[in-house]
Symmetry: C2
Subunit: 96 residues, 2 copies
């Protein structure tokens, strides 16, 4: 199923940028980065559990927000894009 | 239906912050801000069309990414939150 992972972190701090980089690294194993802190991942139930477990170890639960949206298996008509960057090439920006 | 609106804009520039502020202002008429650039809106088909039209006039299509996710009417079990900020109080941060 398509799982949308939205991660809100303060990227004005090096620590925040580092956490976002680590979260992105895990997420792109299963899908693609579509915005700076938004990832579309194709996961089965076991993978979802694993990814959630990994991400919860990476984020700062006092400061960061992590949201999962479950879009099911028939998701093509449930997503619409406008503007720039259909997919996000962030590595260049994120490497510090 | 629940429509998730994800807006990716460079907030390091005053222009980007201003566009985000304008997008947020429209979106919170129909729902809530759940992350810095993520909005959950309850919209019918006519409202969706109206909001899309308004937002497309606000964004810079060369620079910004705007994505819509349609989560239907039975969305309660399709959303999961972890960490801080169940809802986002951004006005204080965004007023410049």
């Amino acid at each position: 199923m398509l799982v949308l992972i939205a991660y809100d972190v303060n990227t004005e701090t090096p620590q925040g940028r580092a956490r976002l980089r680590k979260v992105a690294k895990q997420c792109v194993n299963y899908g693609q980065r579509v915005q700076n802190s938004l990832f579309e991942c194709i996961l089965d139930a076991a993978q979802l559990k694993k990814v959630q477990h990994l991400l919860l170890q990476l984020i700062d639960p006092e400061k960061d927000s992590l949201r999962f949206y479950y879009l099911g298996n028939h998701y093509q008509a449930k997503v619409e894009h406008f503007g720039a960057k259909q997919t996000y090439q962030a590595e260049g920006l994120l490497m510090v």
